[in-house]
């Protein structure tokens, strides 16, 4: 890793982690949403560092853009005065914290033990210099069937959402 890359890595990962922490610990959910955008931008930076340029764009547009807006939009339809006086954490927050740290430790051990073949590192990620083209080739040849499945999942989710929200509440 060159020093330049290291510096960029440090910055973007810091952005991602801080954003995530802000999301979790902000009292106001609107602030959380904003922190999420922050974190996602950091993530997009990481993706760019990994030469997944198409995904970087995707991350910025879909996540940091569409999804956050959607969440914020839905939150606005809800009257937050009624949920005022809400404390931030559940009563069993300590357990949640412990379990999360446990998972973190697990994952760290895993990371330290993991061995992957890095000889191909950074190769094959682009066809004729275009990451998007490589991705497209892979997606619409090898992964065509799962891709269609994902489409169905999206459709199902769409229908599900409509059904759920249109229902009359007695």
């Amino acid at each position: 890793m060159t020093s330049m890359e290291a510096i960029i890595f440090a910055i973007v990962s810091l952005i991602a982690v801080v954003g995530a922490l802000g999301l979790v610990f902000a009292k106001n959910p609107y602030h959380s949403a904003l922190w999420m955008v922050f974190s996602f931008v950091g993530l997009a930076g990481l993706l760019a560092l990994l030469e997944a340029y198409f995904l970087t764009v995707l991350q910025l547009i879909v996540y940091a853009g569409a999804i956050v807006v959607m969440i914020a939009f839905v939150m606005m339809t809800i009257d937050f005065r009624k949920v005022g006086g809400l404390s931030k954490f559940v009563p069993q927050w300590l357990w949640g914290l412990i379990i999360s740290f446990g998972i973190l430790i697990d994952l760290f051990i895993l990371a330290s033990k993991m061995k992957i073949d890095v000889s191909q590192s950074g190769k094959n990620l682009a066809i004729a210099g275009s990451n998007t083209k490589a991705l497209g080739m892979e997606l619409f040849t090898h992964y065509l069937f799962p891709f269609e499945l994902v489409a169905i999942i999206l459709l199902v989710a769409l229908i599900g959402v409509v059904v759920l929200t249109k229902r009359e509440i007695k």
Binding site: L46, M70, I103, Q120, G122, V150
Partner: protein, 100 residues
């Protein structure tokens, strides 16, 4: 770049932070957002391994993960709206209809 451990560490830290958010927060919307973080960190691991093993498949999976995450968010929000209409709250501790 040959050292993938830092990248993984970041992904894992994000995952753990997301888990904390899911497990400890009361606000349903924050829980949903934390879930997004967790899912994204998982997707990130795909991309990391894709890069270091020199194949573009991982990136494809990131697209799938993103699609699933989007569906999940949509359904989650729908549920949130519905719960709010029923219970007039978005406090997850109030969502205990499964009991009894």
């Amino acid at each position: 770049m040959e050292n993938y451990v830092p990248f993984l560490m970041v992904a894992f830290i994000l995952f753990a932070i997301g888990a904390i958010g899911v497990l400890v927060r009361r606000n349903f919307f924050v829980v949903l957002m934390s879930l997004e973080i967790m899912i994204n960190s998982a997707g990130l691991v795909f991309v990391i391994l894709s890069y270091f093993s020199g194949t573009v498949s991982g990136q494809v999976f990131f697209i799938f993960v993103a699609a699933v995450a989007a569906s999940e968010t949509a359904v989650g929000l729908a549920i949130a709206v519905l719960m709010y209409r029923v219970r007039h709250t978005v406090d997850v501790t109030e969502f205990s209809m499964m009991k009894r």
